[in-house]
Subunit: 176 residues, 2 copies
Amino acid sequence: MRHNPDVAERETRDDVDGIVAQWRRERPGMRPEPMAVFGRIYRLARLVGDEQERVYARWGIGRGEFDVLAALRRSGEPYTLAPKALTASLMLTSGGMTGRLDRLERAGLVRRSPDPTDRRGLQVTLTDTGRQVIEEAADAGLAVQRRILDTLPPEDQERLGDLLRTLLAGAAGGGR
Amino acid sequence: MRHNPDVAERETRDDVDGIVAQWRRERPGMRPEPMAVFGRIYRLARLVGDEQERVYARWGIGRGEFDVLAALRRSGEPYTLAPKALTASLMLTSGGMTGRLDRLERAGLVRRSPDPTDRRGLQVTLTDTGRQVIEEAADAGLAVQRRILDTLPPEDQERLGDLLRTLLAGAAGGGR
DNA sequence: CCTAAGTATCTTAGCTCTAAGATACTTATT
DNA sequence: AATAAGTATCTTAGAGCTAAGATACTTAGG
């Protein structure tokens, strides 16, 4: 089907184009064009996300743990944040964060200590091992992204980032 | 921060730009540019996906159930597919598909019947109610996508779809 | 035919998440 | 001070997924 000579002129059809065409055939008047964008966004998120997750497994962590370690590392010295801040920036419930921190602490990648200024609170700090793990895993995950992104020439990479920035602003702003 | 006059000239910074800048400050030489694309793809998938899910809830279904009903509806008359085919096209394990079909059958949206030509197999068929639900829910979900996509002018919408098609081909091809 | 290998579906155990709520501490009001 | 309201974290129950494997049927090879 993909190599049908009838469509050789525009050899850029993919599964998503097929789905859009099916809807058009089944329900004329539906105008399913937006699916061509969001269908691909969903598939890319899943495909690339799964591939990055397989890479992170080398260090014994999943995507969720990676995100926590990355937030701590990015925050700079002393690599310390409150669970509350992590919960907010990773858009997670407090229960989910408790679980991630339990796993990371058990693996020796973070340390929990009491907040000296507020006895309700905690501080979560990257251990030396944790810092080493996140730096190696982040480089490996980035290499996965770079290899896929290099399908596009540099000027298209930048143009794609710009279009997505605008779209994300529309989704984040309008969706409340 | 977003309305800091110092950055008024390029008033297009978002959270993802901030994350990229943090990595650059913390680890010079990391070249985190690909995150500007994939970070936004992940966020869009989550934000728009969650919003569509809230819409589907009006009909008592989640994203998973929606995808099954949509695959059946798109396939055309007689709206029948084998669980095996659904499992493959939705990239799900057989256990996950069993669960979705159980819920859909309990809700009266699909019917399971034996495959007349292969006694190992089943056929899953959309009920009349199921067909009505998927048509209404698909229109409502599409409206969510269209509202967000219309942040971009029509020519950018098309350009974005083309860039994503190329990127998805690179991810699906290279990732094996 | 008969056996071995293959295929389709369901079952079970374990994982991670959310939603709701409990606990413990802090801040604001009187 | 004393009380009420607010905040940070953890706990619990339930949903939906995957991985592994059980069951039942089909197909291929001798």
